[in-house]
Symmetry: C2
Subunit: 205 residues, 2 copies
Amino acid sequence: MKQHKTIERLIIYRLLLENEIQAGVRHIFSHQIAEKTGNTAAQVRRDLMKVGVAGHAKMGYDVAELISGIQTITESKNGISFVVIGAGNLGKAILNYFSKLFPHFVAVACFDIDPDKINHMISGVYCYPLEKFSKVVDKKHIHLGIIAVPPQGAQEAANLMIQGNIKGIVNFSSTPIKVPKNVFIENMDIRITLEKVAYFASTNL
Amino acid sequence: MKQHKTIERLIIYRLLLENEIQAGVRHIFSHQIAEKTGNTAAQVRRDLMKVGVAGHAKMGYDVAELISGIQTITESKNGISFVVIGAGNLGKAILNYFSKLFPHFVAVACFDIDPDKINHMISGVYCYPLEKFSKVVDKKHIHLGIIAVPPQGAQEAANLMIQGNIKGIVNFSSTPIKVPKNVFIENMDIRITLEKVAYFASTNL
């Protein structure tokens, strides 16, 4: 299942279902999932059919079964290991955020050019010099990288990741970067988002 | 100019141009902007025409003039003031990130339910109890809010913002929330993004 949008929806369903099960919900109907995630019930049923879990006409879907079914598709069994280039404020925030909120994500190393950070623990993760990038990710079998550097260093960080055989990149720098087609990239530009929302907030008054 | 996509592209151009001018670039052609932002040159020229700045056939656009032209459309003169609900790891990371990297964004208050945080400074910003939300944002004329609470508190935080006349919301919680049509919302789900990229990274091996 390679479709970008389907995978994204399945992940969103799973996060919803994890919240529901914590709240004591045991069964759920497709229209309820649809309503809470902004999809149509037909879309939800089509997506869940791909997961191979069938709903019961009167009870709906078994929430635990559904979570487990989606997990087999979207989640690796041993957690998701990743590295971060950039151990400044943003990099530290990302490392803290994931280690505390989502133990399923495991940061295994960070990289920086600052001598004060190199060879020290940054937010619980060892910081290596940039030059060691390929060696470290190869040894630790990492294929997921986060870019948390200022804009002017973003493409260089991406190039290091590509050379290091990283296959998925989340780019938090406020600048677009180029990657080859076999590398999957998502841009998380907090600044662009905030400026855009601020613009529409001011025109909505 | 209310078009969502145009505004987003203009903000992206401006961030690029701000980097270029720092690097000493004084003039730029539409095809250069296009290449660096992943648009077509024709699209860039159409967008910049709306800004009212004309390019020179031989020199291209004056970068400083272009930044200023885009700013008059996308940027408020006195900085962008916002509040944050949730002063945990994520909220603190957001407050730190913006105050250090983008002084143009001004966090004026944060809100939490934790007695250890209320009435203290959190990352340089005063933390109020949730009950004071409407009063504080009304007094400070804030219309932009960031939600940085766990999923189960997200809709309640959104409801407070809607009651408090917030018109633009950035939702960092890992759950969808509902807002009326006159409120602009963007979801920044770091977790969904990371899970999606991790999935595609693992299938790209």
